[in-house]
């Protein structure tokens, strides 16, 4: 196996290095990737079309909105799949698993819990900031969602899993993940009912008192909120399932 691996690796490496000599030079502004009409169009027209200074957010949530929606669906499916793989059902679920020898059953550490108690509100506030400020600075739904999910994971690490599950149970988490996708698709469908195409946010200006560009701006925020819902909840659901072997109790 090892010899086969080395052979494959050497072959692939040779091919890739051979191809690497044909790449454009490092940081070349004239390289095909940077000089293509598509990239130039995004850089030049994003501000005109959407009023969003952060091009990455604009391209992510608007121009490639369809793609991002299904990326969110993939994350949602991952959350469901983990529950399906790990959650104990039938006979296994009813019998209470014995405590393992290495399971932590000490009281939660005082210093750690107090620091976490102090930090978690700030982290969650920062997550909202990242989510809402994603239009003018780095950030957006994915980052804000992950930070939000991390705050719940932090609670679970400092105390124990049940304490975090009191705030966000896994069933409710999966429900909220679905809600996130519904928010996303709902904004797209709303645009469709108003006469545009699916996810053509500019049409929302017919019912909201804003210009077409600002309609896209605000609809992007709504879409990012949907993404953040899904990412937050799925991250926590994955952690809860993984850390407790699918028992959703005890845990790390």
């Amino acid at each position: 196996m090892r010899k086969l691996a080395v052979a494959v690796v050497v072959l692939t490496g040779g091919l890739l290095l051979y191809a690497a000599t044909d790449f454009a030079a490092w940081g070349d502004p004239e390289s095909p990737a940077s000089d293509s009409d598509v990239s130039k169009h995004f850089i030049a027209e994003t501000g005109v079309d959407t009023e969003v200074p952060n091009m990455v957010t604009a391209v992510l949530a608007d121009y490639r909105g369809f793609d991002t929606m299904f990326e969110t669906v993939v994350i949602f499916i991952a959350g469901i799949a983990i529950l399906a793989i790990l959650k104990l059902t039938g006979k296994d679920a009813t019998k209470t698993p014995g405590k393992r020898k290495d399971e932590v059953d000490d009281a939660p550490d005082l210093i750690v819990t107090h620091t976490v108690r102090l930090l978690v509100p700030i982290i969650q506030l920062f997550a909202f900031y990242v989510l809402a400020h994603g239009h003018v600075s780095p950030g957006g739904g994915f980052q804000g969602g992950v930070i939000m999910g991390a705050s719940f994971i932090l609670v679970a690490l400092a105390w124990d899993l049940p304490r975090a599950m009191d705030r966000l149970s896994v069933d409710r988490a999966i429900l909220l993940a679905g809600v996130g996708i519904l928010i996303y698709a709902g904004i797209g469908l709303l645009a469709m009912f108003l006469g545009g195409e699916f996810l053509d946010y500019a049409e929302l200006s017919t019912i909201f008192p804003v210009s077409r560009e600002m309609a896209r701006y605000h609809a992007m925020l709504g879409v990012e909120i949907g993404v953040a819902f899904t990412v937050t909840t799925v991250m926590f659901a994955i952690y809860a399932s993984l850390s407790s072997k699918g028992r959703l109790e005890g845990g790390l």
Partner: protein
């Protein structure tokens, strides 16, 4: 291949060092995925493979002397527009919003960036593609880790060869209904022995 007074080597190592490292990382990940026996090691290799590809994409988007893909205030086509909008909006918000917006457009003549200005920003497209790839990657990593835990629950090991051996034994001699609990018991016994 690496002849010609080191020209090719120099080209690779000096001008395209990022690409070289991406190739090296990709190969490290590939090797780990094929040759490592431990399933978690395989998954770490998979993640390294993935980040190597992301590194490749991001490297393609770099431009010499370019800034990050967020408009500088002086380039933002709507830079002052938003403030004006806020000033005017309270007067007649619902009366004729689109008309007032049009009026603004006439005032400020919103226009796209010129080619010269476009060159000052890094290419945003690879960033967008890779941003979603990272988050989807961690979700798939989670699914893979769940499968690893499931395998451990069934066979009591996460070494590839031991799992294969257990599967072989199960499918051959011992009937499958008896086989799985037996192997499970053996595994748990092994685990207990290790703990003690």
């Amino acid at each position: 291949m690496f002849g010609e007074d080191g020209g090719l080597l120099r080209e690779l190592l000096v001008e395209r060092f990022n690409y070289c490292i991406y190739v090296v990382l990709l190969l490290i990940g590939l090797y780990a995925m094929i040759a490592k026996n431990n399933l978690i090691k395989k998954l770490i290799g998979m993640s390294i493979f993935q980040t190597a590809i992301i590194l490749f994409y991001v490297s393609l988007g770099v431009k010499e002397g370019a800034s990050i893909p967020i408009y500088k205030p002086e380039h933002d086509p709507h830079g002052h527009h938003a403030e004006d909008h806020a000033d005017h909006k309270p007067k007649d918000a619902n009366a004729s919003s689109s008309a007032s917006a049009d009026a603004h457009d006439d005032h400020h003549e919103v226009q796209a960036l010129t080619d010269e200005q476009t060159r000052q920003y890094a290419n945003p497209l690879p960033h967008v593609l890779m941003l979603t790839a990272i988050v989807v990657g961690v979700a798939t990593l989670g699914v893979a880790l769940a499968v690893v835990q499931r395998i451990y629950r069934a066979y009591g090991t996460i070494e590839e060869d031991e799992v294969m051996k257990a599967i072989m034994e199960e499918s051959q001699g011992i009937p499958s209904t008896k086989g799985s609990p037996k192997s499970k018991k053996g595994a748990s016994k092994k685990r207990k022995a290790k703990k003690a």
